[in-house]
Subunit: 129 residues, 2 copies
DNA sequence: ATCGGGCTTCCCATCGTGGGAAGGTCAAGG
DNA sequence: CCTTGACCTTCCCACGATGGGAAGCCCGAT
């Protein structure tokens, strides 16, 4: 499999596959005589794993650890769970931050008549110290 | 006021003030003979506005527009409201994405015993195509 | 032999923030 | 008057993840 085929099979585009190799997420791919990267099914599995982990919002650093645990058959599931729960906490914090922004903004927006007049509680609020 | 004093007064650090000037958010500051930037209260007001708008998650691009509306006394509040509501929608989308991640992860985590055994539904899920 | 498409590397951009180096300036105290 | 320390200046680099694009090589089909 060359990189384009691996991209199709994994759902990770070629550019990203090279990038993942450069940052050590993917092992250095074998090459043909002419320098083309060659992939096997196991590589596609890793790429798919990365794609799905990204979809859950894990950072590349976390994914690196997850892959390590995944490949280690004698891992303790507790380690994975700890990682996952730390990430859940981080997500919760971000969600709350965004909700606070949205709620504040919704409140201000409700009080803005939104017509041709210049008075605007949104701007007034932003201008407050 | 020099940049450090403006930073203290506005809550925006000096590095960021220079950055905002360089990207056209802040007007080019007047300088002393020796090259030090000089700020007035009006500049501090703008910086405070930027800080608060960032706190509500607006991008610099949006903030540029907001500042334009803010300084324009004949603005229509409708324009501000439209901008705000677009941002609220964007926040809602992001919140939902993060919540979906968190919910999936919570579900997987609940089913992971998290002990010394290697079986781990979290890893199994990530490994699925 | 040629041509289109795929591969390679390398550099640049995003967005907002910050670190740090090298050098100039200012005010206070000896 | 000179030193010292704190502040200022510009410039370059970094983060994290992704993508665009250029220049050049390779492969398979016509």
């Amino acid at each position: 499999m060359n990189i384009g085929e691996a991209a199709k099979a994994s759902g990770v585009n070629a550019k990203m596959i090279r990038h993942y190799e450069s940052i050590g997420i993917m092992p250095k791919a074998n090459r043909t005589d002419s320098g083309y990267r060659v992939y096997a099914d196991t590589d596609v599995h890793i790429l798919t794993f990365v794609r799905r982990a990204r979809g859950l919002g894990f950072s590349m650093k976390e994914i690196k650890k997850l892959i390590g645990l995944w490949r280690n058959r004698s891992r303790a599931s507790g380690e994975v769970k700890t990682l996952a729960q730390a990430h859940i906490s981080a997500l919760d914090i971000k969600i709350k931050e965004l909700q606070a922004m949205r709620d504040t903004l919704k409140h201000l927006s409700r009080n803005c008549h939104g017509d041709n007049r210049p008075d605007c509680p949104i701007l007034e609020n932003l201008a407050e110290k």
